[in-house]
């Protein structure tokens, strides 16, 4: 196993090299650029034998992936914010056509005002497009999830596209130690691509992407939704296999056993943070600090946001008295999404915890120890509104 201190973006590029997509199609957008530049170098050096399409827009990037995937090859693309929004229409179509396209989203705020820094408005905004969504905390997780997403998306029980979300700059541009399995090891984990979906082939002519009238549309949509609902078992299976095959090499840079959520010091906790992505690293430090003064606090990190792991979350939080949801997104005119989903989860629970929502870190605003402490103290003292903005 190769170990290196490497930028998270480059770790993802290394993972893509190991996955060996037949076609890469990408368009540059900050903060995703370091990923696609490094992949370009791999192709230019002959280290990666992919056909690399330098498209004229993100819209064409995802469309080219659609075409290539339908031809029966593994594909890769990556984008951020406005680029993901430009892909929006095709995200639905790729998922509806059950093509296992894989991408990385380097999370960035949505314009206006234009802002290149991190939050989760972009990927949370496309949560209902039918893609599996993973959120990475560390460069190691970004690397591992990039490998695993292919095995999950391409599984014949799943055939659903997936995105691995990494926080722009705060993770994408961060140098961290990463352990990377060899090509042989990854080949054994993720063999050469065999498509289990319909493929464009003159020997067996099929019509892909036809019109579905009201007589069939809803039935077809149901099979698609069933597949992503049921994918949670395949995700657990793949996570388990990966964790068993590739043990932790660098302590603390990934969960020992990957699961759809990571429970951090929740066993005896009374107060639990819930969050996605790189912010979880800061929260873990904060939890460790509080634990020194015997505060019973922990963290639930949501790694798999779609499908939403309802049972796992409910089980992990069943004895918690107060839940603090930290979100780097908003739903203008309503309460924030993860907060809403957690409250909905506990609607039928006999013991209902107090659930508080905090909107933080929009447009790259730093979420540091002081802010997390301020939030924690507010909740502990029962101060503030149900949902608060913390600037």
């Amino acid at each position: 196993m190769k170990k290196d201190v490497i930028e998270a973006s480059h770790a993802i590029a290394e993972a893509v090299k190991l996955v060996k997509p037949g076609v890469v199609a990408a368009y540059p957008i900050t903060p995703q650029t370091h990923i696609v530049e490094r992949i370009s170098e791999f192709v230019a050096n002959g280290e990666l034998k992919s056909e690399y399409i330098r498209v004229e827009s993100e819209f064409s990037a995802i469309s080219a992936c659609l075409g290539a995937s339908a031809t029966g090859v593994r594909t890769y693309t990556s984008t951020s914010a406005q680029g993901l929004a430009l892909m929006f229409e095709i995200l639905y179509i790729v998922a509806g056509m059950r093509l296992p396209v894989c991408m990385t989203v380097a999370n960035r705020a949505m314009s206006a005002p234009i802002n290149i820094w991190n939050d989760h408005q972009d990927s949370i905004g496309v949560r209902d497009c039918g893609w599996i969504q993973f959120y990475a905390e560390t460069a190691q997780e970004a690397f591992d999830l990039t490998i695993m997403q292919y095995k999950i998306s391409e599984d014949k029980r799943v055939l659903t596209p997936s995105m691995v979300c990494i926080d722009g700059f705060t993770l994408s541009h961060l140098y961290e130690p990463v352990a990377m399995p060899s090509e042989e090891e990854i080949d054994a984990f993720l063999p050469e691509y065999t498509p289990y979906h319909a493929v464009l082939d003159p020997e067996e002519p099929l019509t892909l992407g036809p019109i579905g009238f009201p007589s069939h549309y809803m039935e077809l949509k149901k099979t698609q939704v069933d597949a992503i609902d049921n994918s949670i078992n395949v995700i657990k299976e793949v996570f388990h296999e990966f964790s068993k095959k590739f043990k932790v090499e660098i302590p603390g840079n990934r969960p020992e056993n990957y699961d759809v959520i990571e429970s951090y010091k929740l066993d005896d906790a009374e107060i639990a943070f819930v969050a996605l992505g790189s912010i979880c690293g800061t929260i873990k430090e904060f939890v460790d600090d509080l634990r020194k003064s015997d505060e019973k606090v922990g963290l639930l990190k949501v790694i798999c946001y779609r499908p939403f792991p309802m049972e796992d979350i409910l089980n992990s939080l069943k004895n918690i008295e107060k839940i603090i949801v930290l979100e780097k997104t908003v739903s203008p005119g309503a309460e924030p999404p993860l907060y809403t989903e957690l409250r909905s989860l506990f609607y039928e629970a006999l013991e209902k915890p107090e659930i508080r929502g905090f909107i933080v870190g929009l447009g790259g605003k730093d979420v540091n120890f002081e802010k997390i402490k301020k939030i924690y103290d507010m909740v502990k003292k029962g101060k503030g509104k149900k949902v608060e903005w913390v600037f």
Binding site: G22, V23, A25, K49, S50, E51, I53, R54, V55, E56, S57, F59, S60, S63, A64, C65, L66, G67, A68, S69, A70, T71, G72, V73, T75, E89, I90, I93, M97, L200, D201, P202, E204, P205, L206, T207, L208, G209, P210, I211, G212, F213, H216, L220
Partner: protein, 305 residues
């Protein structure tokens, strides 16, 4: 029914739901005959996608894919590179068959991108000069003075106020090694051009004029007659540009064109130019443009662009 001299094998089956006399359906029969069995067809959203693939039925005997309205050229780019990766690039033709709305308008940027990148595929626009699938709205291809549902003729309007976009020359300017115009009224010429486009390496383009009887308000049995008149009057001249060299196929004499009136008066979309009052000014302006265009094409042939 066989068309004289063309392969008898059909890859676009009868039973589709297109209107009687649909020019696009005739176009697709010709295109698939020219492309043959070892082809992958990409179609954007439009009349022919809707009428030929009502799930679980299909008219297509060759592999066919539809993604969205504006991304056929990008899908074709992905297919082209995937085939290259699989080592099948030389064995399979990739043919986009798109309407004018998808080609001239909404998908134009992506079409330009795919041509600039030089993927090996053929893009055929079946040009019926408006958004027919949504109910005859004007597109960048709709001719001057045509009445459509979004450019209706009225007291203050002669129909569409703008001239048709010259998409063929724009694509030629991308450096494509073969672009051409063709018409369903000249099937042998169209067949030859489509085949040539497919056999030429890199991105190639054919603008294939295809009557829409419903949208142009002509009887369905006059579909071919109208398309032929479009050529004979010089409204839609047939030409090809191979390796940058122009060749005007027909009509070749700007002084012997059939009067444009013959073409206009049989179509409901131009009827406001004749009734209640004949708009001689508009017709004369159109006639002048048509003649100038033929003269320009002859200049291109003689001196280059």
């Amino acid at each position: 029914m066989a068309i004289l001299g063309l392969p008898e094998e059909e890859f676009f089956s009868y039973g589709h739901r297109a209107c009687a006399g649909c020019g696009a359906a005739i176009a697709i029969r010709l295109i698939t005959k020219a492309a043959g069995k070892n082809s992958i067809i990409v179609e954007p959203t439009g009349c022919m996608e809707v009428t030929s693939t009502p799930y679980p039925e299909t008219s297509w005997k060759v592999p066919w894919i539809h993604g969205a309205f504006e991304n056929s050229a990008a899908i074709a780019s992905g297919i082209s590179e995937a085939l290259k990766y699989l080592g099948k690039a030389d064995k399979i033709n990739i043919v986009v068959i798109a309407g004018d709305g998808a080609s001239y308008d909404i998908g134009f940027g992506h079409l330009s991108g795919a041509f600039e990148r030089g993927h090996n595929f053929t893009y055929i626009c079946y040009d019926n000069e408006a958004y027919m699938n949504t109910g005859i709205q004007r597109s960048g291809s709709t001719p001057y003075a045509a009445s459509t549902t979004t450019s209706p003729a009225g007291k203050m309007s002669i129909g569409k106020a703008e001239w048709k976009k010259d998409i063929t020359h724009i694509l030629a300017a991308h450096g494509s090694r073969y672009v051409a115009t063709a018409s369903i009224a000249y099937p042998n010429d169209a067949f030859r051009k489509i085949k040539k486009a497919i056999e030429t390496k890199g991105p190639t383009f054919v603008n294939l004029f295809a009557t829409c009887p419903t949208g142009w308000r002509v009887p369905s049995e006059k579909s071919i007659e109208v398309a032929r008149l479009a050529v004979e009057t010089g409204v839609f001249p047939l030409y090809e540009i191979e390796n940058g060299k122009h060749k005007l196929n027909r009509p070749r004499d700007p002084d012997k064109l059939k009067p444009i009136e013959e073409y206009l008066k049989i179509q409901g979309r131009f009827k406001h130019l004749f009734k209640p009052k004949k708009r001689t000014d508009v017709i004369e302006e159109m006639q002048k443009r048509v003649k100038e265009n033929i003269e320009m094409l002859l200049r291109y042939e003689k001196y280059g662009l």
